[in-house]
Every structure is written in C-alpha cells, then in structure tokens.
Symmetry: C2
Subunit: 337 residues, 2 copies
DNA sequence: TTGAAAGCGTTACCAT
DNA sequence: ATGGTAACGCTTTCAA
C-alpha cells in the first residue's frame, strides 16, 4: 500500500491523502472521512523512509552506550524511553561493548540514518590527546547534536550530563566524619579514570576541611570492580589495623566490600562504618542497608534527552553541562559502635 | 553532501559513484580511486533513507520488550547485539513498560519504519480470546516476520523462543527429591501466567513420578515478585511447620525467600533445602549459593535473532518453536542437614 | 566501463 | 478545497 493507491481508491489525489494523514491544510470533511475509511480498510501505513527523505528530517535518536547489560545503563535507557513518546522519537540503540572500533561503526551508521541527535557514553576514557582527537573526529562526522553522558573526555564542544563525583564523595566522607571516626579510609576506583580521581579528591578535601588526617595505609587503590574490592577489603580486615570508617567508591566496590565483611565476620555499622557511592538495591533487599551518596540514574537519562531536544530546537544555545547532584542516604552503616 | 555532489566533484555520473560505494558492477581502477578520494575528502555519508526507499528494503530490526531495566531483558538485548554487526543490522528498540497501548504504538511505528523483522516479548499475557485476537491483529499489521520471545500467547502463526519451564521445574523438584526430602513445597509464580503454570506442573509431575506426596499446605501461591515471596516465606518459617525442601519459581522469588530466611535465622542448605529457577548472580556474590535450574539468557537473544534471519531469508520455512533447555546447577543449598 | 533516466513513497509549493 | 508536479537521494536497468 502506498499513498498513491490510497488516493486512487478514495478518488482523490495523493496531495489530499497527505493532507489527511498529516492533518495539515484544508480538506473537506466528507472527503476526509472517505480517505480515512480507505486508509483503515487497506491498513495503509505511511513510509517513514519516504517521509524522511522528502522532509529532509527524521525522528531518530541515536543512543551509544558501552554495556547494555549494566544496570546503570539500562536504567538510563529506561529514563530516556520515558521521554521518547512525548517527543515522538524513535530510538536506535548501539552497544559498543567498550570497544572503540564498534563505537566508530555505530557513529557512522547513525550518521547514515540521519539521526536528529545522539546521546553517547564514550567507550573508552580517552586520556591522551591522540585518542581524544580521534573521538572528537568521530563525533564531528555524525553531523548532528550530541550529548555526552557520564564519562568525561576533554570536550570543549558538546553538551554533557555528568554526576557530581567530587561532592558526592565529599558528602560520603563527611558522613563518616560526623559519625565520629578519626581513622578514615577509602577504596578508590581506577585512578586513571577521571570520575575515580574526582571522587578521591572529594574524599581528600573533606578530611582536610575537617582536620582529619589522611593516612596512606588506609588508602586502598581499587579499580571499580567487585573482585579487587573484595581482595582489598579482606586484606584490610586481616591486617589487624583497619580504619574506623571507610568510603567505597562505587556500587561494585561496595558489593566486594560487603562480601569480604561477611567472609570475615565483620559487622557493618558495628565493627566498621561504611558509606558508599551508588545505591545497590540488592544489598538493601538482603538486609545490608548501606549508607550511600547516590544519584537518580533514570533522571540522568531524561535530562540528557531534554538537553538534546533543546539543542536541536535551538542550535545556538550556549553550551550546557549539567552536573547531576548526589543524594545522601544515611541508614546507620556509617556508624561504628 | 549527496551522491550527486560527489559525482560532480569526481567528474563522473552518480551511477558510477553508486557502483563505487556498493562495490557493484564494473568501474575502472583509476576512476574508483578518484571517487574514493572525493568521498573521503568530503566526508560523504550515503543516506540510509534514500537507499532504503530505492531498494525497497531496510536493515532495521525492531525489538519490543516490556521492561528494559530488567536484567533478563538487558541480557537478551546484549545477546541480540552480538549478532547485529555480522548481519549488518540496525536495532530499533522499544520498551513498552508492560503496557498494551504502548506496545501497539511501537508496533505501528516499526511498521512505518519498514523493519526487516521484529522480536517481541508481549506486554501482557493475553489470556482471553479477545485480547489474544487483538495482539494477533497488531502483529499482523506489522507485515514483517516476527519472533515471539519468552512469553507465550495463543499463537499458531509465528516462530518463537521459549524456556523449558516444565522440565526446568521438574529437574529442580527432582534435585530436592534426590536430596532425600519427603516434605517438599513450592512458591509459585502468578498462576494466571502460562510460564508459572508450566513450572508448577513440572513440580507436580516430579513429585508424582517419584511417589512423593504433594501437600496442599506446602504450596505457596506467589506472584513472581520479591515482596510476595518474602511474605510467604516468612509465614512458612513462622508457622512451625515448614517443608524440608522448597522450590522457588523465579529469580525474584528466590531473592524474597533468601531475605526471609535471613530475617528468621533460617540457614539455607541446613535448616531447609532450596532449589530455584533462574540464577541470581548477586546471591552468589554475597555467599548465598543457591542451587538452581537456569538458562543462558544471552543465548536466547541470539537464537531469537538467528531464527528471525532464517525466516527472512526463507519465508516458506516451517514454523520454528525453540525451547531453550535448562541447566541444573547444584551447589549444596538443595540439602538439609 | 560509463551515463541517462525511471522509479522508490513521500511532502510542499503553486495553480486552479 | 483539491490536484499537478517537482524534489528528496539513492539504485537499477538499459544503452552506448
């Protein structure tokens, strides 16, 4: 079924059918009804391809994420999805698997689809100026508005939505300080990553501001992974010299820590105080109520889409970088009895 | 940049440029090089819209799922994604939020995009013949091959990929029986759902086959949710008459059960034997190693895509229903000491 | 080996 | 209020 066939069956021109479909321009009530009847009867479905080509505009939105099976990103997607209908958008989804090559292919494909805009969490943290340049080049070729999500790179061009890593860590450390601890430690993330460094800096700043000494021996350098956090925590517990309070730098770090505590019969909130960054729902469910500084992930997705839409409708808008605030949830685990 | 502009810059016709792009037909080595140079220099990116319109064919694949932020579905997506590149496919993703209306909109949209095919997990279990009819009608309108994933409906037309619910429950119950239990119970899923009924049937069959009496008091009717499972388990523990072994009907049921056991100081694998359906990674991580009958979710996604591709290339192929097998993992929790 | 031209299914402008 | 027609950017067939 094409617009032409519908036109013939309804005894009108395709212009009229087009007007009926798009509710644009004048069309007599009787003929409208006639056309609509034919559309219904023939189950005619207008081609987005033809429409897009003709209007030189699509309603595709490209999403490029590194790990679709990571709950953080699936919540982001869920948030974006909530905004899709009202904006009449269609989502083209690409999982790069943290692979730069696949990222490039995805971006190329999106360019060919003539997407309206792209939301991307870069596959890799582009440290050196070379790879930074290459990501910039890739993004430029897309030739559409772009919003960078969660992972930083040296970007002076595009809008972005990021988490308030520094202050979130600051608040977490502060909570430990307020709980009365003097010996405070941290299990960091991979410090080659900017978000890990920012969190570490927030931690340091809090201790400094409150005059709490930061002891080298209580700084455990992790990698944001469960296993590493588990090993470090275990060492900590077995060393015979553990801090009174500790900050775990992300969800997986918290999980590794809890696992080690369970293994070593360390009671969280009793033998040691803990505050994590990120909320881990499953820990709550299983009764390990960990205090945490966290964010509204779903909201981050919505915000990213909102900014993208703003940018599309107003290309000259000043560059926007949104820092999503943390929320501090204290549930008792920060204490030590 | 359009194919015409490239053609002019390279001093050839657009036909030639098309041949170069698609590596089709004859083209002189020299002119090819010239054209390719222009393409690179101008950063020309051919329009998928125009190409699709001209070829009367896209490489879109539509995915319609009910809850994108459910780990089961994000793993499915991840599996599908692995097959996308090699098939040169682009994924259009729709989250229906278990809402029939949104499902309908999504399906309509996919039809307009002229997708090559669709993989769908229906938003609702369409019980009565009315809603069954309505889903069938919706699907027919898509006018493209369709694979039904995981959730059944009364379908005599499309290919499907489902889990072996019956035998998976049978095996789980069998494991409890082999562990020597005589008093065996189950926390079921929502029995209005076919997959819940199938699992319950598998359970019953196993007891019957082994001559183990099924006692009404040990049948706990749940709803596949954490909270309900928690409440039922708690009642079970507090009743003073609990079974020796129990089957938890899905991942969330297992979680609720474990939570209750923790609350009530019931030692899993000691005070009561448990086998679940579905593997819950987080439980393993936290040291609750639950025996389970489970499936390879990522694989299910791959299989669904593979069947879809087969169907597309061979529309006359006989109807395919793939039942994904269970894997039984015994880790000791099935016992009672 | 290359080019010209028709066609894909729409929209939008200009007539009527 | 309606119709005719060019245009969108590409592929494909037919000629040369």
């Amino acid at each position: 079924m094409t617009i032409n066939e519908v036109a013939k069956l309804a005894n009108v021109s395709k212009s009229t059918v087009s007007r009926v479909i798009n509710k644009t321009g004048y069309v007599n009530e009787e003929t409208r009804i006639r056309v609509e009847k034919v559309i219904k009867e023939t189950n005619y479905s207008p081609s987005s391809l033809a429409r897009g080509l003709s209007k030189k505009e699509t309603n595709y939105i490209g999403i490029v994420i590194p790990e679709i099976d990571n709950e953080f990103f699936s919540e982001i997607l869920s948030g974006i999805n909530e905004r899709l209908d009202e904006n009449d958008l269609t989502m083209i989804c690409c999982d790069t698997n943290n692979n730069g090559k696949r990222e490039q292919k995805a971006l190329q494909m999106l360019a060919q689809q003539r997407v309206k805009g792209v939301i991307i969490t870069p596959a890799e943290e582009y440290q050196d100026s070379d790879s930074n340049l290459s990501l910039r080049a890739k993004l430029k070729k897309v030739n559409a508005p772009i919003v960078i999500l969660d992972r930083h790179f040296n970007n002076t061009q595009w809008d972005g939505v990021f988490y308030d890593n520094f202050n979130s860590a600051y608040a977490a450390a502060e909570a430990l300080i307020h709980a009365g601890h003097k010996k405070i430690g941290i299990i960091t993330g991979d410090l080659t990553l900017q978000i890990a460094r920012e969190r570490f800096e927030g931690f340091k700043q809090a201790l400094e501001d409150y005059g709490v000494p930061m002891l080298e021996k209580y700084i455990y350098k992790g990698n944001f992974g469960i296993q590493k956090a588990f090993e470090l925590s275990k060492k900590m517990f077995e060393s015979g010299d553990m801090p009174d309070g500790i900050l775990t730098s992300n969800n997986r770090t918290s999980i590794g820590f809890v696992k080690a505590a369970k293994d070593c019969n360390i009671r969280i909130g009793v033998d040691i105080g803990v505050v994590g960054i990120d909320h881990v729902e499953m820990l709550d469910i299983l009764g390990y109520e960990l205090s945490c500084a966290t964010r509204n992930t779903r909201e981050m997705g919505k915000i990213a889409l909102d900014i993208l839409m703003e940018r599309i409708s107003n290309p000259k808008m000043g560059r926007k970088i949104i820092i999503v605030p943390y929320e501090l949830h204290l549930k008792g685990s920060e204490k030590k009895q």
